[in-house]
Symmetry: D3
Subunit: 289 residues, 6 copies
């Protein structure tokens, strides 16, 4: 568990979201020696192509390419990311376990409801994780009691699907023995990330800043291509290259567009809510004129 | 002339503007070993209190407190800062002479027309200064020719006052001999500042970033107090302290308000038009939550 | 069921909302040969005047005037439109059944919580309707199972009222035999509307575009007047005309105001989130100067 | 119960929120002879310092200093303010009981989720309170029936804590005999506040207007200091004054900053959604130039 | 000259502008006993219909209907309102002569360049008028000297028309003897209006506030109809009423639209740059909900 | 002169601006059978690379590629585009001569002062061109009179360069005999474009709409490459392709980015100030979801 605490944790609704919005930044941070992680809220079972199992394998492959130290997936239903108390507790537990200094969330507007809801859910979970008097373990455990069984069953049926709260991978960390003790201790210790930034690539909003990913662009693209189940249809037919070329053209144009804003070749866009704090105004990047 | 080229040049309409909006930042940059300068566009002759001569002496005193390497004043009429070709050439000449990497301009909105016009004038002069084919010396010199005499006289009378284009202090640099040659050479060499930022203290706009001036706050306040002609009325009477205390309370509240935005004690606010470029997202300042 | 699929479906919280915000546009589209529909989310039982039954009759009359091909009402409680999974499924089922190319939603800000919540609920339902792997029929059916009975009963009591999920009119389509089979088949086939636009008449926001309803204005006004239960109090007394004249003056001023923005007599305002795509820039409507 | 109906009710998430954002305005209104009240949604049990009981005592003391006529606290869990039907009913009941002409809500953006959720919850409760056909008493009572017991128990366990819906202090008014009858009668009578304004002190948004609290500033500061449990840590050690001085400096700078916007010494900032209505344009306050 | 100083001065580019944007407000202020005035910057000679002389007569008639105490016209060329030093001096002289507490300017955006330029020109003139050291009389007089003659002639020819600086009506006040002395004394005494507000009727911007002109609406409409030369073409033909009815419908819809924003019948919209200052928050007009 | 009147006229500051911002749209309109034109305000003599003569030849070549019917260049000094009466008259004369239905102007913000000033200058010229009482020919001619000679000479010297008002190509149309008569007649007939739109490619502002230039993209790129003097430095060295490839990558990314906004491959972005007017809401382009 030497990969924890994290310096940077990216939270996203679906496996392959991070690869498209901030994968280059994650890799760049890893290149700088930072410990990075990815939390996928859903297992992507609603995706038109591929199964959740395919996606799990692909996500692991992508994580390797992006050199992230930690990647887990919650069991929030795909297509139904909701900002409930239960989901906030689930994410807050991860925040306490991984203790990131910086969290990347999806931008709070978007085409896909899972994306913008994940943004609000992630923010409020970061807040909860910092409340000293909140015993997350007890709050979640009590949901496994008898009454919880009823409620959960009711909820499952309402949702038309199984919910496995607090089971298996959903603990966020597959832990045993001493590791388990450490994880529980971490869960009991409040933690609030210092900084929250928002990945805005999916939305036509002007970013606060961009991150130069020129050196990471190729690897980031490969991390996306690792999701073979997602892109295989498009690669079908005699010639695999045209489809891949089309995807690459789009990805590249986006990265280049944001790069041009800052005078670099490729970049990823982010938004922060706070004002900046500049130590040396003679060293601000990005040419004005 | 070892003070040139500058790292940072603040341009403002009136002597004592810089002291109120970005004096702390100038001092902080000087503390970091940067060469800083101030260009006042007018001599402040329309100010209700004090004469232009009083203000000149006070500005020199303030410059010393702020440790600026260079301070000059143009002869643009106070209360009549206009974005004319002539004024743009005057400022562009200063830009070429001082060759700053960064220029601080007033924000482009404001209560005082001289302030917001200085913003536009300053921006366009920075642009002109970078045009390789523009011979500023020739352009300005030609205005001293015979036709210029007529035009200037006409314009002077229209303005109801004397205009001393290109004379005396207005050269921006009182230069002689070798220095003069260097100045002329500089004027002939295009220069475009890398970065332009806007000091927004006078306007209720949300800044892009602030600069922590906690360590410079007292000196910045003293630089303002150096303008005795401006504040003496308020200090009149038996007790000099109440008026000074009132001014200080206002200055301090402003600085503290912008400081609170970024978690520091005192700060000065700025705006930049470009997006930022962040090298290490795990090192972004200002807490989110 | 020849009225389906729809070209255009307007979703609103209360019967008579559509008549006030986009009734003219619906009629205009019908005049152009398009199949239009209205989905009212609630039965209006919280309205101060009239009963839900009165409103049902009036809504049918209004639908006739506006020449809509399809109009249904869900059983979401009036005054309590919530963006729940259950409600999203209900609306998504309608989207699949009616398969509209364009959906009109209320604007996402407003005075009435039902309006702005209907906007978000409608958007997310459109998204859900397009998920190929979502079996809406099964998801809703499972809510009628044993556990559902408990959950529903609990929820009903919490709400202080009866909820009749999935019964009667709430199926969105009163269907029998072959029609029922067709409806079920439609429900199983994903459908995502191509376009979602927002009716903004209730809110002082600048529209993206307006629709000229000069030729439909009188009929649209009559469709609103069909809601006798809503306007009868104001028409009480000896003289029915003054109250009606006042309502008409307000409706007319709104329509004329938005008409003036585009150089036509009467118009209804809309907002779209996407940029436009113009085929012939020499044919853009609305004079600039 | 002569303190009701209220002229002005401030709703906030936590005890001591109102003291920081609009306490001066409440006191000023009391000084003008208005009946003012405060509704705290939570008992502050998640606060790092002090217990809910400490805070209750302190809130009573602060209320006295601010001269409010009425102050109550709901039992919504601290750190978990949610915009549910149940919570809306609870707040709507208070609105009907206290019948304020004006309601102050927190601004709808903020750092603390409880703050911005309280804003939406408060708004929708004001709306509900005005629905003539909504029987709040019956809706809430039915939640105490048998089914409610199950649901509540389930919900409590899910939340990992006890929920005491409709019991004790949560009635909003501890009432007996005739008073109880009056309270019930009030609950049955719809009431919609005329005006809703938003306290924006916690957020860097430009206010629509400010209220001059120069004469109330000292008392407002004392009302905040009444929360000894919150500020005692900071006051620990030999010298109580430095910590208090630091807090005061921050509070004072904020008040002075907003005061400067309007030419007064101290002010509190507010936002309203509606346009203003000016009777005499020659009497508008705040100098332009 | 008992009509001076003014409480309120409306500045506009063309005769009949004020009648359309803020005539109702001017009349309402007169009804409240305020002294009001109108400064038209141009004589309207570029208008398609009617001559400058027609318009002068009509403007006088309109002024009477609106009960303004003072109305003058400058000689700035119609279609060529420019924010020059000369024009600023002309307007500043009027500001000093009439000494208004409040000035209404056109909004700073608009379709007609004369409108938005008048906004900036008016603002800067208000600023100039307050500069104690600015001798407007001397500045303008010097322009009538010999050099001025040359410059003026050059400028006139450049403009392709005659410029009559400082002659005739353009003095702003046709003054003689003692009156002239008073006017000159006024010109020498600095004056800065307390408040500047912007009439926004011509532009689709959300106003800061509106003014209820329900009682003044008919008279305001008549003041517009006084411009017979402007509306006669449209009234030509057998039936004068249709054209007038059309104009009235448009004027009425605008007034009613802005009235609806504030819950009154007819209103005129304005924008102010400063935040508001509210004395009694329980007395704020305009219903929220 | 059968190329007149134009359907569409693009106005820009420098030769090669139009090629970068809206060249694809011009070609697309030509492909649709529209008559298009380009007015370059300056001759580009300040450009670092190439001479004004080079650029003239290249502009002619580019015009051919873009199939424009008309292209002229005014003599406004490069780097000194000012919104003066003289310049407005020059442009207004072109507007009357070419009588476009639609005018494309640069966006009103930008990095280069010539660009944003050209936007304002162009707008005001369009306005002037429509004033029936403005005799542009007389206004300009009078500037060639004796007084003009003086003024012009003064101005020329002030500018440090020659100004050739109204001579040669600067007449906007090189006309002779009957053509000259037609041109003069056109100049005397007022014309106001119906529509003005703004090309926003140079600025990171969200466009109102984009134009699909997928079929025109290659030709548009070639039209830019026609400016060999501008791109030859970059193409120098052994291998011409890398530089060209780099330029192409940037151009392509921009076009693709705006294309993605609307679901097409390549697009150019525009902004319009007016609301849209939609005839058939079921036919709006650009997918929402």
């Amino acid at each position: 568990m030497s990969s924890l605490p994290l310096d940077l944790l990216a939270v996203a609704a679906h496996r392959d979201d991070v690869e498209q919005t901030c994968g280059g930044t994650l890799l760049k941070m890893a290149d700088l020696g930072r410990r990075t992680g990815i939390l996928d809220l859903t297992r992507g079972e609603m995706g038109t192509r591929g199964t959740a199992e395919d996606r799990e394998r692909e996500a692991a492959e992508a994580a390797k390419i992006l050199r992230v130290s930690w990647r887990e997936t919650l069991d929030i239903p795909d297509g139904r990311v909701e900002n409930t108390w239960e989901n906030r507790l689930k994410v807050a537990r991860i925040i306490r376990q991984t203790r990131p200094r910086v969290v990347i969330l999806p931008y709070w507007k978007g085409r896909h409801p899972d994306h913008y809801t994940a943004s609000k859910l992630g923010y409020e979970a970061c807040f909860l994780a910092g409340l000293a008097k909140l015993d997350i373990h007890r709050a979640i455990s009590s949901q496994q009691s008898a009454f919880r069984q009823v409620a959960s069953a009711v909820a499952s049926v309402v949702a038309g699907e199984e919910q496995n709260f607090g089971r298996g991978r959903t603990s966020g960390l597959a832990v045993e023995g001493a590791q388990r003790d450490a994880a529980l201790a971490a869960e009991r210790t409040p933690h609030r990330p210092f900084k929250i930034i928002y990945a805005t690539l999916y939305y036509d909003v002007r970013p606060t800043f961009v991150v130069n990913i020129t050196d990471q662009f190729e690897a980031r693209f490969e991390s996306l291509m690792a999701y073979k189940s997602q892109f295989s249809d498009q690669q079908a037919g005699k010639d695999i290259f045209p489809a891949r070329a089309e995807i690459r053209a789009r990805i590249e144009s986006m990265a280049r567009f944001y790069g041009m804003m800052a005078g670099v070749t490729y970049a990823e866009p982010f938004l922060q809510k706070e004002v900046g704090l500049v130590e040396d105004v003679t060293a601000i990047a990005v040419k004005s004129i």
